[in-house]
Amino acid sequence: MPEIGNEHDYFWDSKNMEIFKRISENSYIPATKILLENEIKATFSFSGTMIEQANEYCPEVIDVFREYFKSGLGEILDETYYHSLAFLLDKDEFINQINEHKNMVKRTFGIVPKNFRNTELIYSNYIGDIVSSLGYGTILAEGTDKLGKSPNFLYKAESGINLLLRNYRLSDDISFRFSNQSWNEFPLAADKYANWIKQTPGDFINIFMDYETFGEHQSKETGIFEFLKYLPVEFSKNNINFLNVNEANNFEGHGKISVKDPISWADTNRDLSPWLGNPMQREAFGKIRSMKDNKNKKLWRYLQASDHLYYMSTGDQSDQEVHEYFNPYKSPYNAFLYFMNIINDFESTQW
């Protein structure tokens, strides 16, 4: 442990490379090829950090995505470049990171995103207002039960921006439950899934998930790629069309939704607790906040990646298992100590 954070060497490069290469091979590359070959429409949101890592560790990922977007099947959303909780720091910082992201997408793929999703689908009126003022047409959010609305229609936020709500049941059927043998719907095949969609009332269904679902969280041995390949076949049998976010805007709005306290797509509570739920996370985030005048803005922003806080989470047992799956340090307490070592070094350095 003592090594990380010394001599300003903050990045666990070997681990980043190992993980990025593994996921590229298991997921990003084969899954995107399937989307292209089978003419499946999809909307993506990449953090800037992810694109940087792709350029460094596996440029083929960028090539595969470029080809996919050239086909016209895909759409790209904006988010914060650093996959951060910048909206909690200050408005200008949030906007800066969105603009940096916009430039990155334009540079990398020649596309200017029209729609937005915030880190981990975190949404509130406040976030909606800022994003709306930047000219985006739609923002994505979690269709949590608290809202008391069907996620299968188009809504408007207070600010007038369109709101798309994730259908978490039908999304999680793929991303969490697909290979769960104790699930009473196991095994899930494309025909069954198409049938569920057909029977679901509403204008459209928002299926949002980690892209790593395809080939990484659900390994290829689970049959996830076959499932993906057969979706268009079964969809067309049932007259179901794939929609990108921008196309969903054409549906009629079903009223306004107001969200005062931030909601997210993570853990059972669907709030900010996976990142700021315990005193340790709040201490770490407070430290980030206190350093906003630091001269090394780039490093300060890397440190804002929400994952750092996520690894420190200590929720209930079932949430905890999800966190540990993603946590390279295994223990939330180790994650905290590594992070604070780095923060202390960062703070005491004259950049």
Partner: protein, 383 residues
Amino acid sequence: MKIGVIGWELPPAFSGGLGIHTINIFSILNRMASITLYVPDVPGLNEKYPFKVHKVGLNYMAKNHEHTDGHNKKMESYYNGNLKFEDKIRIYNKNVIKAVDPEVDAIHCHDWITFRAGIKLKKKYGIPMVATVHSTEIDRSGNFFPQKHIMDIEREGMEIADKIIAVSDYTKKIIVNNYGIADKKIEVIYNGLDPNFIGMEPKDYGLQKSVLYFGRVTTQKGPYFFLEAAKKTISKMPGIKFIIVGTGDLINQMKKDAENFGIVKNVVFTGFVHLQEKLYYYRNSDIFVLPAVSEPFGMSVIEAMSTGTPAIISNTTGVGESLRNVFKCDFWDTDYISEYIIGILKYRGLRETMGINGQIEAKGFTWDKSAIKTMEVYNSIVG
């Protein structure tokens, strides 16, 4: 179902780990089965217990040997008196064999100190035998010159037992690897939290500048590594106190080591303490450290956690295998131990998060669970 339990320690006469285990688990088991506990007749035992207690005299040989001084034969306690420890065990086991009712459905032995009687009773009457292993000679010696004659008794008892209860998976592995016992014969049943530690108030996480070692000061528990980590910590945070609560054969050596390390001013030796003081130290420390070389379970870990104090423990501490809210590292890795100590002292958020979650986690170890699982073991061997 009638169970004859061959014990050794029983509070309040002595409150070592085995004693705490015995009183807690059999109080509950006696509601499911009829328990008779055999223990040495020593001063300090209560008149009544929540289960039948048969006190077995320890004094036969003492009578033959001397008593010119008019020494009261009742004065033989577990670890003091005229007899050598191993002689006491021999006499006790011999007397237990005579005392046990051969009509019991099973005998339940605890550690090698009671194995000889169990072995004999099983051979003589064919009574099914359960052996709980609270610790092995490998643990107690810190795997440093284990005594062969004791390991032989342990092995014979384990072999002849119908079922073995190990207090952790860590101990189960030692039983399989060092004693050659088939793993399907071994059930892992964790200890519970002593009722004295249930229902503690949430703690205030203000810095107390104090780090606690609590336990016997013996090779097994790794007090040397505590001191070495203390030295490394003090070089960066000079104002921290390191408190060693407990006593044992290494106590003088540790005092010397503290001197050699130049940290005498920072290290406090309290000697043996009773329950109220024990609670005080657990609660009024920022961190509890157990760098045990080999600890089958580690009751003190969940006790400390139940008071809200974060714990740093060795990978060779059994209870750690099912704990999330602790720091774990190798017992000898005092760089890590010190790094963890400094982190917990430095960050209130870390203290608080580990402490609060640890307090909840420790409550999950209940004697009810241990008793029910033990009952299942009885059921599996009593036809």
